[in-house]
């Protein structure tokens, strides 16, 4: 299952009618929203930390050229290899070739949104390699053949009853009458099945939350421990991540580690923080260490009005606090990155024509920017994409024609005053019991609501008469 971003409005309508989705999304507030609020409160003075995070990420984004080359040298000095991928296709081919070189048949995967972005799993399967997702949420949606609906909680759209159903359908070797009511029963079942996969895997693939240029290290934060089993047990470990994840050094990483879990799950720190700095040279770690750096449109944003979006550390706070995401969920976006970060990023990396809805489906309420740990001006960037959409002639004609008509009048005060006087009277005449039920030129408004009847004369005419 994968939805079309161009059909966002239809996808959203269907999502709003899904009776199981509303209670699932209700947990955004109780789970992530409340968690972040508590963590920020407990930390104390969070704003200077956000300022520091912004400065660190800004430095990184404006020094990517230097930092990435330094990172490559540092990884090389430790015996690892850095690969550069311009786009999704190059990234897939590089990864496949590493896996084929070591004769990999099964590959375990820690959660990685970049491998979702480059659609790695179907490509590996088509080439005879079995990818096994080991993050519980990713494992569940892999069984269901669904994309993630949230960037840190991929199965957030599902209830535990739906997960139990999925396990019964998929784990056919187990007793059909087993008890799967409790959350823990589900976890234990997945753990048992995944344990065998960890032992069998020929290679492990993880993402990276940060790359440290000076030390040549990739850092991941996890809560389930699957990341460490993925990266440590097989002989080959591949890190797949975006070029923008690099920062100067581990001191910078330490600051960002204070921001990320607090903003994401409300934890002061995640259960595990793994620092991966090349082959261990010991018997219990990987012998081969590869980092695949994926551009896939990111570098094209540098120097544009959307550059600040590259500061993102993928915490998900913006979507957790977004009322649009909270109403329709992640699948409606039809893209790997959803909610405000998707709305600011996707038009730049996937194309404005493809993802214009993402930038438009916002009230500019500003909560996303308010909670962003690296202070990305998300609504400002969405507005930028709307301007690009309009300038490219891609904006819907019904809307732009109406706006042109309105702007023509708004620039001519006398005409405007006359028009307003006529409109105030007409709307009042059209009203019944205090409400206008329908005006043919604005179907969108009247699809779901009435328009409260105007008082019948404009303020300007009444004010002039009074003075």
């Amino acid at each position: 299952m994968s939805l079309d971003p161009r059909a966002f409005a239809e996808n959203a309508r269907a999502a709003l009618k899904d009776p199981l989705l509303k209670p699932a999304l209700g947990r955004l507030k109780t789970h992530f929203g409340a968690g972040r609020a508590y963590a920020v409160h407990a930390y104390g003075d969070f704003e200077p930390l956000r300022e520091a995070g912004k400065a660190i990420r800004d430095y990184a984004v404006t020094h990517l050229d230097e930092l990435l080359v330094q990172f490559e040298a540092s990884v090389g000095a430790r015996g690892g290899t850095v690969h550069w991928a311009r786009d999704a296709g190059e990234a897939r081919r590089v990864i496949l070739s590493i896996l084929q070189d070591v004769g990999a048949g099964t590959v375990t995967k820690g959660k990685s949104m970049v491998t979702e972005e480059i659609q790695l799993n179907p490509f590996l399967e088509a080439n005879g390699i079995v990818p096994v997702e080991t993050d519980l949420g990713e494992y569940i949606i892999q069984l269901r053949n669904e994309p993630p609906s949230h960037i840190i909680a991929p199965a957030f759209h599902l209830s535990k009853e739906q997960v139990a159903e999925t396990f019964r359908t998929s784990h056919t070797a187990l007793d059909p009458a087993r008890n799967l009511v409790e959350r823990n029963a589900l976890v234990q079942e997945a753990r048992g099945i995944l344990r065998a996969q960890f032992e069998r895997a020929d290679a492990g693939i993880t993402g990276a939350n940060f790359l440290s240029a000076k030390e040549g290290a990739a850092i991941i934060v996890t809560n389930e421990g699957n990341g460490d089993l993925t990266r440590l047990l097989p002989k080959t470990h591949i890190v797949v991540t975006g070029i923008e994840k690099v920062v100067a050094d581990m001191d910078d990483v330490a600051v960002l580690l204070r921001l990320l879990p607090r903003s994401a799950t409300g934890q002061a720190i995640s259960t595990y923080v793994s620092v991966m700095a090349g082959p261990t040279g010991e018997s219990d770690g990987p012998e081969n260490f590869h980092v695949v750096l994926v551009d896939n449109g990111r570098s094209s944003l540098i120097g544009t009005e959307a550059q600040d979006v590259l500061r993102c550390i993928r915490c998900s706070a913006c979507m957790n606090h977004c009322p649009i995401y909270g109403a329709v969920g992640g699948h409606a976006y039809g893209a790997t990155y959803m909610g405000p970060i998707g709305a600011a990023l996707n038009p730049g990396t996937m194309g404005v024509a493809e993802t214009a809805h993402h930038a438009n489906a916002s009230t500019f309420c500003g909560r996303c920017a308010e909670v962003c740990p690296v202070m990305i001006p998300l609504p400002k960037i969405m507005r930028h994409w709307r301007a690009v959409e309009y300038a490219s002639g891609l904006a819907p004609k019904a809307i732009t024609r109406g706006l042109s008509f309105w702007a023509f009048a708004a620039k001519r005060p006398r005409l405007y005053r006359l028009g307003a006087r006529i409109a105030a009277r007409a709307l009042k005449l059209m009203s019944r019991r205090g409400a206008v039920r329908s005006v043919p030129v604005s179907n969108g408004w009247f699809a779901v609501r009435d328009f409260p009847a105007p008082q019948g004369r404009t303020f300007q005419e009444l004010w002039k008469a009074r003075r």
Binding site: A387, I399, A410, K411, G434, T458, F459, W463
Partner: protein, 254 residues
């Protein structure tokens, strides 16, 4: 206050108040006059240009902004009974003219003296209370622009607390958007409907008789949705209640 004993206020009445609810404009003028200001209404005003700006139609937005700047820059202060329109002038005009050396100083100067009504009354005029009665339990809807662009939260509540007979019940999710968002409400009506219904349910759950707010856009959207969905909460702009006009017909009342 600057040039004269009674500061000259340019009242930016907003296009929605002008068209739908003149009473809000008169309430705003009355409150400003009681706070010791002289109020003028430049006839050249139409709209702040936000529909064009938020749609990415920069040329139209700039034309309209330049007209607003020219019409209002001679006043001591610009006051709007709306966080959204005030926010447009204060936050977005300087952003709009960032690369325009001729207009940026004028946009910044206007931004510096532009205020949302509630915050102007309390913070600039030092108003601590009003003489008005409204014997109802009310909840206050913070518009996102008032709350996050203009930093207005305590001011309307402080003034409402001095209204005879009024009791204030807080919404559980006061910081959450109501789903208006200008053209968003037209482009994505079903999402907007869900957000409105959540806000209306929150308001009804407080047991309030009335929903007050400082932005007519949100209020038209919420009242319109209530009319369609058969909810009977009274809806008014906060300025009406503070100016003692709470006995007049409410928004959408036949």
């Amino acid at each position: 206050m600057s040039t004269s004993p009674r500061p000259r206020i340019g009242l930016f009445v907003t296009c929605l108040v002008d068209l739908v609810r003149p009473q809000v404009g008169f309430a705003a003028a009355a409150l400003l006059e009681r706070a010791g200001c002289d109020v003028e209404v430049p006839a050249a005003q139409t709209c702040c240009g936000q529909p064009a700006w938020n749609s990415g139609i920069d040329a139209d937005a700039k034309d309209i902004a330049r007209a607003v700047i020219a019409a209002f820059e001679g006043f001591d202060y610009v006051v709007a009974p709306s966080g959204s329109c005030a926010g447009m002038i204060k936050r977005h005009y300087p952003e709009m003219f960032e690369k325009d050396a001729a207009w940026l100083p004028r946009a910044r100067a206007l931004a510096a003296k532009t205020h949302e009504l509630m915050s102007f009354l309390v913070k600039v005029c030092g108003m601590t209370g009003v003489t008005a009665a409204y014997a109802k339990k009310v909840c206050y809807h913070d518009s996102c622009s008032s709350l996050r662009e203009m930093g207005v939260k305590a001011e309307p509540r402080a003034l409402l607390a001095t209204v005879d007979g009024l009791s204030l019940a807080e919404l559980t999710d006061a910081q959450v958007c109501c789903g208006f968002g200008g053209l968003f409400s037209v482009k994505y009506p079903e999402i907007s409907e869900r957000m409105a219904d959540d806000k209306i349910a929150d308001a009804c759950a407080t047991g309030a008789d009335a929903l007050l707010g400082g932005d007519l856009g949100c209020l038209l959207h919420l009242k319109g949705r209530m009319q369609r969905a058969g909810k009977a909460l009274e809806v008014r702009h906060v300025a009406e209640v503070l100016a003692g006009m709470g006995g007049e017909k409410a928004l959408g009342e036949p």
